[in-house]
């Protein structure tokens, strides 16, 4: 058994955002392609929490959707527990699908408003044929509700009767019902109040300890990431610019973009120090800058950076894609 639960190699996802065929023909325009994810490679170890951070439009959610199969990869491969997901037969995929799940960002959209909570949680059970007997699936739903801090009686209610935090708990109960090993969390707390965020994050950590879960945690909130992650990958414009241990990254960020992000984190320790603002905006991914895509915002950039794409260099400290990194 390999140490890595998930291995992603040279993953790219390209969106075709061209105008319709007839418009292109008449207006003599070419196809327009958007590379949302660009040659991303990463490994996630069994039992760890790997965080992906980046600004809006950096491709975080696209990676999540490609991993769980909601979007097809344009190129590259995804190996889950050693098997290439693209090569599996439909019957084999049925078994593999049970083993990964996803927690969505918006708990107000992720639960079907017409379904009772009990049915929402039991849906994966029914799909994967777990707990076929009437009673056993009912019992499992009650257990799950109590596991996430709700009451078994809540099963007969509808999602609109719950608050955002409670809904996210229901979403977590649904995710856990099929006993997955790997859970993709796509900004699971960004739609919640700060006070509720901590409860949900702590619940997720407890569940991780109890069930030995592996998380891919996607967020733009670095303080949340610091709380949750063992390792962090920083995305910029669809490329992974730095991967390293959580502690190492916060102590010693090596990529200038990571440094800029960390500068912008609100932090009590920093009182009195002048903060360097995150300068500029993420460029348009349809026409990305040449060379290192970060060079228009980078304080260290020179002519070499503008012309060449920096390769990802691995070292003991982690991986970084920057010519200037030390």
């Amino acid at each position: 058994m390999s140490d890595n639960l998930l291995e992603i190699k040279d993953l790219s996802r390209i969106f075709d955002i061209s105008k319709p065929w007839l418009n292109r023909l008449i207006e003599r325009e070419d196809r327009r392609l958007l590379r949302a994810v660009n040659d991303v490679s990463l490994n996630i170890k069994r039992g760890e929490t790997f965080a992906l951070v980046g600004e809006s439009g950096s491709g975080k959610s696209t990676i999540a959707k490609v991993i769980v199969g909601l979007l097809a990869a344009s190129s590259g491969e995804i190996r889950f527990d050693g098997v290439n997901l693209a090569e599996q037969s439909p019957t084999a995929m049925r078994n593999i699908r049970r083993r990964y799940q996803m927690i969505f960002q918006d708990p107000f959209a992720s639960l079907n408003p017409r379904w009772r909570v009990r049915d929402i949680i039991a849906e994966p059970l029914r799909k994967f044929g777990m707990g076929d007997m009437e009673g056993s699936s009912q019992k499992r739903v009650d257990e799950l509700l109590e596991l996430v801090g709700l009451s078994a009686k809540d099963g007969s209610k509808f999602p609109h009767e719950f608050s955002g935090g409670q809904r996210q708990r229901i979403a977590i109960a649904r995710v856990l019902s099929s006993k997955p090993e790997f859970i993709v969390c796509d900004e699971p707390t960004s739609a919640l109040d700060v006070s509720v965020q901590a409860q949900i994050l702590n619940l997720m950590r407890d569940l991780q300890d109890d069930f030995g879960l592996t998380y891919l945690f996607i967020s733009h909130d670095l303080s949340v990431v610091r709380h949750m992650a063992n390792r962090i990958g920083v995305l910029y414009l669809g490329r992974l610019v730095e991967v390293s241990d959580s502690k190492e990254m916060f102590r010693n960020p090596r990529h200038p973009y990571t440094q800029m992000l960390l500068e912008a984190v609100p932090d009590l320790d920093m009182t009195g120090r002048t903060r360097v603002k995150a300068a500029g905006e993420i460029p348009n991914p349809i026409t990305p800058p040449s060379g290192c895509t970060f060079h228009p915002r980078c304080p260290l950039a020179d002519a070499h950076c503008k012309a060449n794409i920096p390769p990802v260099v691995e070292s003991d400290l982690g991986a970084v894609a920057c010519f200037k990194a030390t």
Binding site: R97, A109, S110, R114, E123, G135, Q138, S156
Partner: protein, 313 residues
């Protein structure tokens, strides 16, 4: 444990209806309550026609041409047995209206159900699948929408009658009417359902269902369908009035129900021939009932549209 849940649900269903915004807005609107009352009376009268009607207009043995074209009884020239007079065959107008509204309402309900099932299915598939399937279905819908519904219904009715050679007209008239009216009304359902489906399709609960590998057909049926049914209910109510009118129009034009099984439209057509010779009652009473029925159903539809529209609350 599970029975405990069920009693809870049964209780909460009644409570939910009584506590709901819809029930509240129903109680607030006098017009709607009157319309609902009128519609209910007409529906019940139509349903119970065999019990309520003083005569059976389909029993040919009971008809006598001696009794034909009698005016309503209160005019003094009529016969007390025939309250609203008789038609040219000697059929009691009141009984024929009761049986006729039965046919009209049955055609209306059946064609609305047919149009709704067809339209919802095609709209769901078009919205959820997208791409070429969507394009083909919606272009057909667009083309059909550029013709008046009555013209489509006439065309389909004519085609089916032509294919069957007009034989067994009396037995097939009902089915042919339902198919032709249904086929001319499906577009509205399909367009509405498609646009709601486009919104629901990208919501995260649908993604969660896709993620566990649920078949697209099941996702449409279990997840998307219950969430796009609200507007359909409104369209169906308003279309019921339209379908009844369309049936009456087709019957008036002579391509609908035959005169042996008269619907309200057929009766109006028959009476129309006698209108200028002074026998006004044959056409007036079915015409008035048709107008009242359509008005009541339309008012209900308008109210439902407003009650379900969150922007007007």
């Amino acid at each position: 444990m599970s029975t405990d849940y069920q009693t809870n649900e049964a209780k909460s269903l009644l409570r939910r209806v009584l506590d709901s915004d819809i029930w509240y807005s129903f109680k607030k609107s006098k017009v709607t309550m009157v319309a609902a009352g009128v519609a209910l009376i007409i529906f019940l009268a139509a349903l119970l026609a065999p019990l309520l009607a003083p005569h059976n207009p389909f029993d040919l043995a009971s008809l006598s041409l001696m009794d034909s074209l009698l005016p309503p009884s209160w005019t003094g020239m009529g016969d007390p047995r025939y309250l609203l007079g008789t038609d040219d065959q000697g059929r009691d107008v009141l009984s024929t209206i009761l049986y006729g509204s039965r046919i009209s309402i049955a055609v209306g309900l059946a064609s609305v159900a047919f149009a709704a099932v067809l339209g919802i299915t095609l709209g769901l598939v078009a919205g959820y699948m997208g791409g070429a399937v969507d394009a083909v279905i919606m272009r057909v819908a667009d083309v059909q929408l550029s013709f008046p519904a009555i013209l489509i219904a006439l065309l389909i009715d004519g085609t089916i009658s032509g294919l069957t050679g007009g034989v067994n007209r009396e037995e097939t008239a009902f089915t042919v009417l339902v198919i032709s009216i249904g086929l001319s009304f499906w577009v509205q359902y399909a367009r509405t359902v498609r646009s709601s489906t486009l919104v629901e399709r990208d919501k995260e609960y649908v993604q969660a269902a896709r993620l566990i590998g649920l078949h697209p057909f099941l996702i449409m049926l279990r997840h998307v369908l219950p969430n796009v049914m609200g507007p359909v209910l409104v369209i169906a109510t308003i279309n019921l009035a339209l379908a009844i009118i369309t049936e009456a129009t087709l019957s008036f034009l002579g391509v609908g129900m035959p005169s042996t099984q008269p619907s309200l439209g057929t009766m109006i057509r028959i009476g129309n021939d006698f209108l200028f010779s002074g026998e006004w009652w044959i056409t007036l009473f079915p015409g008035a009932l048709l107008a009242v029925l359509v008005l009541a159903v339309n008012l209900l539809g308008d109210w439902l549209r407003d009650a379900l529209n969150p922007k007007l609350r």
